[in-house]
């Protein structure tokens, strides 16, 4: 056991230097003024952006739910396929991720635009034009599109491990197909669901480029707000750090609640 610990040293050093120290710096910045005095004013100022927090959480939540609803049946079907088909299908799922993130989002801009491809096609059959881009719907779409593979993969890897014989046994013992899903597959795939939700929800809540490109600048999210404090017009890293800190606390709270739904031995945080 002791020897095994040595193997984790590289990562522990990495974590110390690039995760722990920056986290402490964020916290330090959040409680300092520009003149170098201790203050809680930054934190209290975050309060005025409550509506941006609400919107971010809400949009990220919708995106996560859509991802789950789309990914779950797919992952189940995928895990029940023949082995060689599985790898091909997985390749197709992963394919969009090979393309640059910005490019993928940029493509949606030209698709959804007022003179974009979708509106042009609709125009040909006498519909529209509809306002597709610069809406919160477009932002959610961008989130779902970009983060869907992060939901599919953990779900698939958990479901793949569900032994076929378990499902067969359930059917043998009198479960109909609906009950097999609700009483066998879903409980067994719970760890996949929770980690999938984490992997979609956390990046979705803090994204900024998606809302900028697809939301038209009027659907401000927390990510945009933080970016504005560091690189944008309002240069105020102290407030930016405070917002990040509050965001981290909120995510932590939400994740703790989430983890209640997974078995005790697989708690994530």
């Amino acid at each position: 056991m002791k020897q095994l610990k040595i193997f984790s040293v590289p990562y522990l050093v990495w974590m110390l230097v690039f995760i722990l120290v920056p986290l402490i710096m964020v916290a330090y910045f959040a409680f300092r003024t520009a003149d170098g005095e201790w203050t809680i004013q930054n934190i209290s100022e975050v309060g005025q952006y409550a509506n941006i927090f609400v919107r971010s959480i809400w949009l990220a939540l919708i995106a996560t739910v859509i991802c789950l609803v789309v990914a779950y049946p797919l992952a189940y079907a995928l895990s029940r396929m023949e082995k060689h088909k599985q790898s091909t299908m997985l390749l197709i799922v992963m394919l969009p991720m090979w393309m640059n993130f910005l490019l993928r989002t940029y493509a949606w801009m030209t698709l959804l635009g007022n003179n974009g491809i979708i509106n042009n096609l609709l125009g040909m059959i006498g519909l529209g034009p509809y306002k597709l881009i610069n809406t919160s719907g477009a932002v959610v779409l961008g989130m779902v599109y970009n983060y869907l593979p992060f939901m599919i993969l953990p779900l698939y890897s958990v479901m793949e491990k569900i032994d076929k014989s378990v499902i067969e046994a359930a059917s043998d013992l009198g479960c109909n197909s609906k009950k097999v899903i609700t009483r066998v597959v879903v409980p067994l795939s719970l760890p996949g669901i929770t980690s999938g939700i984490t992997m979609v929800f956390v990046p979705a809540i803090s994204t900024f480029i998606i809302s900028r490109m697809l939301g038209g600048g009027s659907n401000l999210l927390i990510g945009d707000l933080i970016e504005m404090q560091f690189l944008g017009n309002s240069y105020n890293p102290h407030l930016g750090a405070a917002i990040s800190l509050v965001l981290m606390v909120i995510i932590l709270l939400i994740m703790t609640i989430m983890n209640q739904f997974s078995p005790d031995d697989q708690v994530l945080i």
């Binding site: 003179n115 610069n134 009027s218 944008g232 609640i257």
Partner: protein, 424 residues
């Protein structure tokens, strides 16, 4: 199975290489064919000795400029300025770009970087002078300063012209789609950006300073106002505009106006000309009620370790041939008298690039706002942008947080009890 998949992959790779190889070839073919009728820019330097001082010293300078703001020989026959400079002086140039003045400021302020030449805009220069972030330039090392027009010397942001050498200037105006908006240019003023007939077809600046300037001009205030009440009124006006605005954008204006995704947008004159080359239906007008005249100028940050080499670069940028090649590529207006003379007659008489003195009289240069005023503006801007039509109650967030906290506490207590039970 794995073998066939590998085969497929290698085939795909081959295809990709083949296609890129082919297009690469055809590109160079085209270039050769087109060479004859392209005007080739040449470079003549008056005082070559000046530039050879550092030859062989292995000096590097870091230049930080706006995106697409220098001629690097992309079009056939144009000069590749950075290479020319490196060949002439033996100084290596590390060239990087930024998108906003604020990004530049944040980078410099954050430390950890060292730039030798930066090109901020007027108000940012005055801010940096005030904060000691840029150093005085030794004008004796920049003989080509003599070419800078009188109009662009000693402007408000750098009253004695000790810190900056003007690079380009321009105005802010309105780009509009002439096929839909059937108005004479004289009839168009800033209020068109509030016109409900064009709802959802209007783009707006995604930076507070430019956006507030438009509102302030409409209200008849100075674009450098620091009065809180005036700023609030301007914010109110911008809030009113929000319902007709399609999107708040900066560089995306290129795509959106180029593809006719929007009808009206305020933007910088030089960029507008570039967009108009792409989309001929577009027109540009500088509103008569006044606008902002901006100057981008070259400065040397205080942290620069190669001041003399930086000055050499600035002087090189002011060589008539270089300044002309740049302005020809950027499409902004030049403060450089010799480069101006070298421009085509048509460009020199273009009221978009070089407005008459009469129009110019109505223009104001930005100066840096006080910290309080810019914070007020910033807060008002964020409020304006994050305000929703149906205002979410300010209780939602606290209630949500308290609920989360309660849930966590309950969970922890439950676990605690459970653990205790397990022990017994």
């Amino acid at each position: 199975m794995t073998v066939t998949k590998k085969n497929l992959l290698s085939w795909l790779l081959c295809m990709v290489m083949l296609v890129t190889g082919l297009t690469g070839c055809s590109d160079s073919d085209e270039a050769e064919e087109g060479e004859e009728d392209i005007e080739v820019q040449t470079l003549t330097i008056e005082d070559e000795d000046y530039y050879t001082r550092f030859k062989g010293d292995d000096i590097e300078i870091n230049v930080y400029n706006w995106g697409e703001y220098i001629c690097i020989g992309e079009e056939e026959g144009t000069l590749d300025i950075l290479t020319e400079f490196e060949e002439l002086t033996g100084i290596k140039v590390n060239y990087t770009t930024f998108a906003t003045n604020e990004e530049l400021y944040a980078k410099l302020k954050g430390g950890g970087v060292s730039y030798d030449v930066i090109i901020p805009s007027d108000y940012m220069i005055s801010k940096m002078i005030k904060e000691g972030m840029v150093q005085k330039i030794n004008m004796d090392n920049i003989p080509n300063y003599k070419y800078i027009m009188e109009d662009f010397r000693n402007l408000e942001y750098d009253p004695r012209n000790e810190y900056s050498v003007p690079y380009t200037w321009g105005t802010v105006g309105i780009i509009y789609d002439t096929t839909v908006i059937d108005l004479a240019p004289e009839e168009i003023d800033w209020d068109i950006l509030w016109n409900e007939d064009y709802a959802d077809q209007i783009l707006m600046f995604d930076n507070p300073r430019d956006a507030f300037a438009i509102a302030e001009i409409m209200l008849g205030y100075s674009i450098n106002t620091e009065d809180e009440k005036e700023l609030e009124e301007a914010a109110e006006l911008l809030k009113e505009q929000k319902k007709v605005v399609q999107a708040y954008v900066m560089d995306e204006i290129f795509d959106k106006m180029g593809a006719s995704d929007a009808l009206i947008a305020p933007y910088y004159a030089g960029d507008a000309l570039m967009i108009m080359e792409e989309n001929e239906d577009l027109g540009f007008v500088v509103p008569k009620s006044g606008t902002n005249l901006f100057v981008d100028a070259m400065c040397i940050p205080s942290s620069s370790k190669q001041k003399e080499a930086a000055e050499m670069f600035i002087n090189f940028m002011c060589e008539p041939d270089i300044a002309h090649a740049n302005i020809d590529y950027i499409c902004y207006s030049t403060p450089h008298s010799a480069a101006y003379e070298m421009l085509d007659e048509e460009v020199r008489n273009d009221p978009v690039s070089y407005p008459s003195d009469e129009v110019k009289a109505n223009m104001t240069v930005f100066v840096n706002l006080s910290d309080e005023a810019s914070k007020t503006m910033q807060d008002l801007w964020t409020q304006m942008k994050s305000a929703e039509d149906e205002t979410t109650s300010r209780w939602v967030m606290p209630v949500f947080l308290v609920a989360c906290l309660l849930a966590v506490v309950i969970i922890l207590i439950r676990r605690h009890i459970k653990n205790k039970k397990d022990i017994f």
